[in-house]
Amino acid sequence: MTKHSATTSNYSRRDALRMVAIGGAVGIFAPNLLGKPAFARASAKPSGRIIVGLGQEPTVFNPLMAHIEVDDGVHFSVFDALFRIDPQGVIQPNLAVEVPNQKNGGISEDGLKWRIRLRDDVRWHDGKPFSAEDVKFTLELITNPNFRSWRTAGHALVRDITVVSPTEISWRMEEAFAPYLSFLTETFIVPKHILEKEANPNNAAFNQAPVGTGAFKWEKRVAGDHLELVANTEYFGDGPHIERLVFKYIPDLTVLYTQFKSGDIDLVGQPYITPDHYGEAKTLPNRVVTLLPRTSFESFYLNLERPQFRELAVREALYAAIDKESVIQGLYYGVPTPTETFMPRQSFFFNANLPLHQFDLNRAAKILDQAGWAKGADGIRAKNGVRLAFSNSTTSGDPLREQLQQFLQQTFAQLGVEMKISNLPAAVMWGEFWMQSQFDSVIVGSSYLIGADPDVTNRLHSRSIGAKGGRGSNNAQYANPEVDALLDKGARTFDPDARRAIYSRVQELVRRDLPFLPLYQSNSVEGLKKGINGFVPNGNTRTESWNALAWYWAS
């Protein structure tokens, strides 16, 4: 779980220093974080329009239904959740008036009883008042077996939801689950009065013309092209300041960048500017181009059930044989940042004291020699009849990753390791092949966290191995009893400092065991037109448009 605040944040000096340090580029925009600064708010009427260019088309507008990252920009603008997470990973109230914790009594000492107090000044876009009934309806809809919900983890633990009053709701958790607060920052509340009338909520008209409580109202969608939102002038919070927010779909990334250059779009959203254009983008007149850390990581992911990878020595040797610096500088134009862990460096839970990777081919060879992996007649190392040969897959059509594969293939060959390249289309790659651990090794860019919560049970707990009937996506099939115990403890612990110790240790163990070889943490190359104010990147959400309500054009 992350740090969370009540209506008035209560930061210690250490928290404040940490936030300043973490803030970096974000800090520059901090005054605009939750809306336009008071001095700039002379004219209350929203004006102007901002066009966000996206590489995928947003298509799922019911925020509770299974969707992908790119839909989040619309959800964050049209809907509100009980809480929001800010760029520092601090949970802030949104539809709730305070963030519940054990100190303010919102969460019981045993973590099982939750009580949320809600705002009384919120209205749906159709004018109907928002109430605790909507929250109850939302939480129940998510676990409705006939509804195509997105994630049910966490929500499935909720029992006995009680509407105490229109502005108060409580429930009981089947077991203490600290990450739930973070899950709720990505759970947008939908209107009961509209959806309860639908026989089949999966095909409801609402899904194509959503009604929310958010800062922007649904205007129209031109399928395959763009969708338009218009300012909700009755919004309870500060904002919105622009009259129209447009999400424009441009599937080709070169064309996306070209349209940013030509001025057709005002802001580049996911998947942002590609690294090969970074150098040029920085020199464009009247554009602001910045590198901003994401929560996703590129790693050389191993299937630990393959006999080649069972031995730690092999994983250590392969890691030592990766020339990360050359990869980052030579192939990725210096855009990403090397890392040793799965935790974002901007996170409160980031362990900065992990051993640093050193590229050393001689050391790699020595490790393998000592472990008894000797070269055979074909020049490939082997031990007990197992050749040190494997395939590596990634999504086909990704030229940078393909170059990385060729680079690694050559380096590994020098070590007496055979790596075959076997790439697949994305729609094939991330299906059963990935979920059921049918690969030898893959190069994958993935996130481990939901919101900013450090819980990684789904990725690293031994009961999360899908290929062995588990519930999660521990596709490396990693199993370490100490990590399991720590993750179980971490999910039951609400105190952030106690959790920090737990997840620091998890990172140490994972760095030692190397179920995946961490390559780098991604940075997005974000670009916007000069004159757009209030834009604050937030690595804890999946969208650049999480606070579009605060955006405005400099007059």
Binding site: G224, D225, P425
Partner: protein, 316 residues
């Protein structure tokens, strides 16, 4: 004629059934599937993916899925998109107009320009114009359309600033002039390859007509070259072109994959590419059937038109 139509209708239905079975099988046998996009989501568990598969009916045997789909199709229900839940016909409808506008314009351009270049090339055989037209057609046929698109954007948008970089219209404008402005570059680029094809066919057809006996007779009678061309040659040369135009019909309605992507044109071609990328089976199948119907219809219309304009042909 009616027997011919009935026969063709029967053949068409058989063809559509075969196409649908092959399409459905191949699509569903591809590993991965529509839920693969959630594989990298840290919050989606294996159980979540299995639950969604069951809700979408993907865990049923393939033949049951096909029969269910085919039965619904026969009742006019083309299914619902896995991605956003809207009906397939509505999804197709939303993209059809954009494609019609782009493909219709570029085809009209191609036919007009290609006919003129072909006839002039044939009547001035081995002239400088003819050589230029031949070389130009070779280049247009050899170079991929997306390359012309990118070069066009680079020169006419980024360097000269004459036309927009793409899109169907300016968001917030959308006047007729604005549509036309946006239409210029993509329709010109898209028409290039069709101008090349059309002009080559037209040239050959015109040369063929010029060598016919009735042209020689007309010349012997002292009819002017202009009159021969207009009255005797063009009409006869255009006849084989009807087949070509008929073959164009499906593509006018199903779009151009690459050009629509380069020019961010929200048409059918891009819809097909996107739906394939997301393994949105109902939409892909809908588009497949739609294309097949268009091909069948295109051929049928061609046959009927040819029979109507050429009295030598009788349909039985």
């Amino acid at each position: 004629m009616s027997a011919f139509l009935l026969n063709r209708l029967f053949q068409s239905i058989v063809l559509l059934v075969i196409v649908s079975i092959i399409g459905f099988t191949v699509l569903n046998l591809m590993p991965g599937g529509p839920l693969a996009q959630f594989g990298l989501d840290p919050g989606m568990t294996q159980k979540d993916v299995e639950r969604l598969a069951a809700q979408l009916g993907l865990n049923r045997p393939l033949w049951i899925q096909y029969l269910d789909w085919a039965w619904r199709l026969m009742q006019g229900d083309w299914g619902h998109s896995f991605r956003d839940g809207s009906s397939v016909l509505a999804v197709i409808g939303r993209h059809l107009l954009a494609t019609l506008l782009l493909m219709g314009t570029s085809t009209a351009l191609a036919i007009a320009a290609g006919t003129w270049i072909g006839i002039r090339g044939a009547t001035q055989r081995y002239s400088l114009f003819d050589y230029c037209a031949t070389v130009g057609a070779m280049v247009a046929l050899s170079v991929p359309t997306f390359w012309f698109g990118l070069i066009g954007i680079y020169i006419f948008t980024l360097k000269l600033g004459w036309v927009p970089a793409g899109n169907m219209y300016t968001i917030g404008d959308g006047s007729v002039l604005d549509y036309l402005h946006h239409l210029i570059l993509p329709s010109l680029v898209l028409s290039l390859v069709h101008v090349a094809i059309w002009s080559r066919y037209m040239r050959t057809a015109t040369l063929d007509a010029l060598s016919q006996d009735f042209v020689k007779t007309a010349r012997a009678k002292g009819v002017s070259e202009r009159r021969i061309l207009l009255k005797h040659v063009i009409g006869n040369a255009l006849l084989p072109m009807i087949t070509l135009a008929g073959m164009q019909l499906p593509s006018i309605l199903t779009g151009a994959l690459v050009t629509e992507t380069v020019f961010t044109w929200p048409g059918m071609g891009r819809l097909f590419l996107d739906s394939l990328g997301y393994s949105d089976y109902p939409v892909v199948m809908g588009l497949l059937i739609f294309s097949a119907i268009m091909v069948v219809l295109g051929n049928l219309i061609t046959d009927i038109v040819i029979a109507t304009v050429d009295p030598r042909i009788r349909l039985a």
